[in-house]
């Protein structure tokens, strides 16, 4: 596998160039990604914002090849994702964690077995699995819920299980596909705090896909705006909110400002 120079790998940890994807169904086709170029640095929390249908999820799903793009290239840590063989892909996916809006936990397994699953399928010894599961459960604050089944957990707890399951393989990259969109504001904040803390503690790169303004503002250093299958803006969160160029960016910034003003009026202070 081609590996770039070390600095390049750090600065351009994820490198996506000219990515295209079109969905075909029943004779009609929908162009979802129209030439995406994007670079994400190692260890940062990078946000991608856009309205529903903009192609955010498809973009994220191309990175671990849940979706196969039509053309373009994706490199993660120097590894060319699109040229991997099936076997190599399975190995690479173990290094890329993913969390979902609907959590997608295994309801037939308790919390312990959910977190243990990624290790079990890799044939890791039981004692080692136990050690890593307990360690990861501790990290996400689930140590007292290991015997519970997902059916009995709250949304926030479910997402913690999802995060633990995604982290137990110690990946270098976490894809977060609308991970807080099904949670109430308070729980959202707790999950975002957890992600920030994990990022700080482990140096994991997090790619956060969301339509929630606050989530991005609260968590990310840099962001991109995805509009109609194209990246219309990339930069620091502050830059984009204060000086938006694209339609989506402007709309978001406007909503954001109005929201801020309302909060100020209500609380007599900013958020």
């Amino acid at each position: 596998m081609p590996v770039d120079k070390r600095d390049d790998v750090t600065d351009r940890y994820i490198q996506i160039s000219d990515l295209h994807k079109t969905f075909h169904s029943h004779g009609s086709s929908l162009q979802v990604l129209k030439g995406i170029n994007l670079t994400v640095r190692k260890g940062e929390i990078f946000g991608i914002i856009g309205f529903s249908g903009a192609g955010k999820s498809t973009l994220a799903r191309c990175i671990n090849r849940l979706e196969t793009p039509d053309s373009g290239s994706i490199k993660v840590g120097g590894v060319d994702i699109l040229s991997l063989s099936k076997k190599e892909l399975l190995r690479e996916r173990k290094k890329i964690g993913m969390i979902f809006q609907t959590f997608n936990l295994f309801e037939s397994k308790n919390v312990y077995r959910n977190i243990a699953y990624p290790l079990e399928i890799s044939g890791i010894p039981k004692a080692e699995i136990r050690r890593r599961v307990l360690e990861t459960a501790e990290l996400v604050g689930l140590s007292d819920k290991l015997d519970a089944y997902p059916g009995g957990l709250s949304g926030g707890q479910k997402q913690r299980v999802g995060i633990a399951r995604a982290l137990v393989n110690r990946p270098e990259l976490l894809l977060s596909d609308e991970a807080t969109s099904a949670l109430d504001p308070q729980t959202t904040l707790q999950i975002l705090d957890l992600l920030k803390e994990i990022n700080r503690a482990t140096g994991i790169t997090i790619l956060m896909i969301t339509h929630e303004l606050d989530a991005i503002r609260y968590t990310c250093e840099r962001m991109a705006v995805l509009e109609d299958g194209k990246i219309t803006e990339v930069g620091s969160v502050r830059e984009i909110f204060s000086n938006p160029h694209s339609r989506t960016g402007a709309l978001f910034a406007q909503v954001f400002t109005e929201f801020q003003q309302t909060m100020e009026m209500e609380n007599g202070s900013g958020i």
Partner: protein, 236 residues
């Protein structure tokens, strides 16, 4: 005792007579034997076929158009045969396998041939119930297709698979009764020979009790097990 010359009440009372049950006992065992063996065969092949249908589905794990369409077509063909015709069709097959075209074992082939396609369809519909998200999560973790099927797909849909199996076992029981007409023995055979041909309605009633109890029991076990699993998973 016949309803032709004895009042209903007397026949019902007579149906509990020990000599009837002595005659019925071996038939009950034959029915249980046929049901258990046919159900086991049906379970194995129905599951495999159901998994094949789900996995090769155009939206499945490994879309394979020809295999999917082919197995679907075969299943539909087999399912369009009435059970009685299946029994007659399987006579030469049984002769080939056992050297005997009648008897309990011969009929198990016909029962399996008739019930496997049905159970395969039930399995397919259970497996399709799983949310796509769970499969995606398993994929994103780096699971092989084999791991997805046996560690995610089957365990996640287990309660539904059990309920479907219950329905299928009851269909097997009803078919064993039909097979009784074709020399398979069992309760169906007793009901035909005594209840139908000799008007011994007390014997007929007794076999009806057995069938009712058997089906109720199977249904209860199926419901109970699937409910226990759902309870354990905190889903009800």
């Amino acid at each position: 005792m016949s309803l032709l010359d004895t009042p209903l009440w007397e026949v019902i009372k007579g149906s509990f007579a020990p000599e009837i049950w002595v005659r019925l006992a071996p038939a009950i065992l034959e029915t249980l034997y046929m049901t258990a063996l046919s159900s086991a065969i049906m379970l194995v092949f129905g599951l495999l076929l159901g998994i094949l249908l789900t996995v090769t589905n155009p939206d499945g794990l490994v879309p394979m158009k020809i295999l999917y369409a082919g197995s679907g077509w075969l299943i539909n063909c087999l399912r369009s045969l009435p059970q009685m015709i299946m029994i007659i069709l399987m006579i030469p097959v049984a002769r080939l396998l056992f050297g005997k075209s009648y008897g309990t074992n011969a009929c198990i082939i016909a029962i399996a041939a008739s019930c496997i396609p049905m159970y395969a369809r039930i399995v397919e519909s259970s497996l399709l119930e799983i949310s796509k998200g769970k499969i995606e999560a398993a994929k994103s973790i780096g699971s092989t297709n084999f791991q997805i099927i046996f560690r995610v797909l089957l365990p996640e849909t287990l309660p539904s698979l059990i309920r479907g199996f219950t329905v299928a076992v009851i269909a097997v029981i009803s078919m064993t009764a039909l097979a009784g007409m074709f020399g398979a023995g069992g309760i169906g055979d007793i009901a035909v020979r005594f209840g139908y041909q000799r008007f011994q309605h007390d014997v007929l009633f007794a076999s009806v009790y057995v069938l009712i109890i058997l089906v109720q029991l199977v249904q209860w076990i199926g419901n109970f097990t699937s409910k226990q699993i759902l309870k354990k998973r905190n889903l009800i």
